[in-house]
Amino acid sequence: MAENLKNVSQMKPGDIAIIAGFTDEYLSFKLMEMGCLPGVPVRFNFTAPFGDPVCISVSGYELSLRLEEAATISILS
């Protein structure tokens, strides 16, 4: 379902998008518990100096995740 959807790892600092879903079930449990829910807006804040991990804002929290984990969050944009 997610082939034509972009994901969080493709966002640029300052971008805002809506979470559409997840491509990895195992990680999605943890991500949802941390507030990344389908339909919730996500803001891409900044990346660590080597471009990985990245920092996003979601549900009012700042989360850090690795690029490969960010890539499992599909977005509508």
């Binding site: 990680l27 941390m34 804040n45 009012g60 929290y61 989360l63 995740l65 690795r66 984990e69």
Partner: protein, 706 residues
């Protein structure tokens, strides 16, 4: 235990929700640390009294986001919350949440309410809520959740009287079930409730969902759960995502109803500005390394003052005991075995206290999460995790608290590698060995008119240990193959000023844990060493005085000189000496003789014993005031009979330095690794690996240099 009426109250909450502040405010210094059965996770217990005078025991549990565990820390909480019929089951649970953003706190609360234990909801950080302009309808919140809601400010201790009043009220199980269990799960739940003692449907559901968190059940009970799971083809984790979505749906509706005035999050903007600097490409690393430098400076320069005082105190005590007690084996055991053993533990307390003061400030302020963020990419190349930074840093003071700090790493492989390589970081017990050997073989000169050569040598050894740790991690990363995935989904908390009393409590707690953990082992080992060094085969030891007198009749020794010689003679002929001589062929290729062999034997269990053994074997009275200088000059004069030159040539010295950098030589670390990895496999592998690495490296160094 003594008072059956004493209530047990568990504190549960997200990380950074102010749980520790609340615990410290409630219990003050009435805290003790116990161990959860089987693991070394500290169970923080504290006593407080309620308005009616009755006592209540608070239990501080590790911070969690959900009752579905991922790391070891979280699993312990899950087990406590699921185990409803044990003497340690809490009578009430306080769920504490950051009220400036309730969503995630409510997720955890909704799960705990469904488990059916009496629950109280403490809304923390009400001062920030007011500042951010949020208003909640607390009555509606309490009504919707079916549990009492108490607003508090844990940092300032506001609202605690009200909280205690609520604790005093009879605890009622929440009547609401927030989560609607799936139809598919109803049949197995019903079957489980018929055959096991389970309080409610959701608890039974958790039994099915969490096969790993049921260690408290008997084998038969676990079998029942497994059979039910199999019979109904229930896969753990199948519904977990859907459950979270259902709960968040409830939470969003609830928040829409009880939030009277919403806010934007612009009050947090200062935190973003700080992040611009602290996670900057250049400044982020520059500041982190500056901070590391400051910490090491503190550990090595500032801590020496109290350490010297402790050293003096214990050697004075030892001497005092010798002078007031009648001579004999018991006095010797006390003065030469037990007292120096305790001293050998206490002496590390200043360094450990300083290190944990820093670590606690960094954690309280929210900076530690940024360090993990900055370092993760680098550490991952070596099979480690950003979270490995804290254990590796702590390892410079002592591997024991460092290994205990690996529990926050949720990935098994990364955690195991971190545990495996942490003892290669040069801990403070290596420092006295390094100092004396460097002083012996490296000239006290300046290179380039600026750098002190001895200082460079010392730094080089620390670097060597660090590189060995990284290299070993890299190799292990290639060897260990696991399916388990590594991830780093971590909150970056809003920066705030550390609360100093929390820092104080952390220092006390970590120091206590070290003294107790390491203490037991070092104590036992020092007694064994004392036996090995005080007794020997045959009657040579009992006749030591006559034999030495006979040998040195024409030497005109002073009294002190004679006593020193007798001590050295005794050590040579003790069991330790016998072992030292027995291993001489094995260590000769490294450039060592049997005297150094004795030191290797005695420092097998604790490396810092090296200096003391050297002092005895080269017959320097332990009473000497200027001990170091004497050992140094005596070691410098020691002649190698094979060459006629000095025994401690640069080749031997560097070989020894490298050996001590890599060798395990710490029984307490082995004990902690055993407990943290729940088996002998890793500590034994670690011991073999580090010994082999030490031996081979020392061999190479000696053969090249000599």
């Amino acid at each position: 235990m003594a008072n059956p009426k004493r209530q047990k109250v568990a504190l549960v909450g997200n990380p950074n929700s102010g749980k520790s502040s609340l615990f410290n405010q409630l219990t003050g210094l009435n805290q003790k640390i116990g161990n959860f059965p089987g693991v070394t996770v500290e169970k923080r217990l504290g006593l407080a009294s309620l308005p009616d005078g009755s006592a209540v025991e608070f239990m501080d549990l590790p911070g969690i986001y959900s009752i579905y565990p991922r790391s070891l820390d979280e699993q312990i909480v899950a087990e406590i919350l699921l185990n409803h019929h044990s003497p340690t089951t809490p009578d009430k649970i306080i769920v504490i949440a950051d009220a400036t953003n309730l969503k995630r706190g409510l997720l955890l609360l909704s799960q705990i309410i469904d488990l059916g234990l009496p629950t109280i909801f403490a809304l923390n950080m009400m001062d920030l809520v007011a500042k951010a302009g949020i208003t909640y309808d607390l009555k509606a919140l309490s009504l919707n959740l079916g549990v009492p809601v108490v607003p508090i400010n844990a940092r300032m201790g506001i609202g605690l009287a009200e909280l205690k009043k609520v604790i005093l009220q009879p605890g009622l199980s929440p009547e609401k079930q927030i989560f609607h269990i799936w139809d598919e799960a109803k049949a197995p739940i019903k079957e489980l409730r018929n055959s096991l003692k389970v309080d409610n449907d959701y608890e039974a559901y958790q039994f099915l969902e969490q096969p790993k968190s049921l260690a408290f059940l008997s084998r038969e009970e676990q079998k029942i759960v497994n059979d039910v799971r199999q019979k109904h083809s229930f896969f753990p984790g199948k519904f977990q995502g859907a459950e979270t979505i259902q709960r968040y749906g409830f939470i969003q509706d609830l928040l829409n109803e009880v939030t009277l005035k919403q806010t934007d999050f612009s009050w947090k903007n200062y935190s973003r500005k700080i992040d611009k600097i602290l996670t900057h490409k250049f400044w982020g690393y520059a500041l982190f390394f500056a901070l590391l430098f400051l910490i090491f400076q503190a550990i090595f320069a500032w801590a020496t003052v109290p350490m010297d005082m402790i050293d003096l105190l214990f050697s004075d005590l030892s001497r005092h005991l010798h002078s007031v007690l009648p001579p004999g084996p018991l006095t010797s055991l006390l003065a030469d075995g037990i007292v120096p053993g305790i001293g050998g533990i206490i002496i590390f307390v200043p360094q450990i206290a300083i290190l944990f003061a820093f670590i606690s400030v960094l954690e309280e302020s929210g900076y530690m999460a940024r360090v993990v963020f900055l370092m993760d990419k680098l550490m991952r190349r070596f099979g480690l995790n950003g979270k490995s930074v804290v254990p590796l840093m702590s390892g410079v003071a002592c591997a024991i608290p460092a290994i205990m700090a690996t529990r926050t790493i949720d990935n098994w492989k990364e955690r195991t590698i971190t545990i495996f390589v942490t003892p290669l970081m040069s801990c403070s017990a290596r420092l006295p060995v390094f100092t004396i050997l460097i002083a012996l073989i490296v000239p006290d000169q300046k290179a380039l008119g600026f750098f002190n050569l001895q200082g460079i040598a010392l730094m080089g050894l620390y670097l060597l240990g660090f590189l060995a740790a990284l290299g070993s991690a890299w190799v292990m990363n290639l060897i260990i193959r696991v399916k388990e995935r590594s991830y780093l989904i971590m909150e970056l908390p809003t920066y705030r000023l550390p609360k100093w009393s929390n820092v104080g409590y952390t220092i006390v707690e970590k120091t206590k844990a070290f003294v107790l953990e390491a203490g037991k082992v070092i104590m036992a080992i020092s007694i064994i060493l004392w036996v090995l060094a005080s007794y020997g085969p045959g009657d040579k030891l009992s006749n030591a005085r006559q034999n030495v007198l006979a040998e040195s009749a024409n030497l005109r020794l002073t009294d002190q000189g004679l006593e020193d010689r007798i001590a050295a003679y005794k050590l040579e002929n003790s069991y330790a000496g016998v072992i030292g001589k027995a291993i001489e062929p094995a260590i000769r290729p490294l450039g060592y003789d049997w005297k150094i062999g004795i030191a290797l034997v005695t420092s097998f269990a604790a490396r810092e014993v090296f200096v003391g053994t050297m002092a005895t074997i080269y017959s320097i009275g332990s009473a000497s005031n200027d001990q170091d200088a004497t050992i140094k000059s005596r070691m410098r004069e020691e002649v190698n009979p094979a060459t006629g030159g000095p025994r401690f040539t640069p080749a031997v010295g560097f070989s020894l330095l490298v050996f001590y950098t890599f060798a395990m030589q710490c029984m307490s670390t082995i004990a902690v690794v055993y407990r943290e990895t729940k088996g002998w496999k890793w500590p034994i592998l670690q011991l073999l690996y580090m010994t082999a690495l030490a031996y081979l490296s020392a061999l190479v160094v000696y053969q090249i240099l000599s």
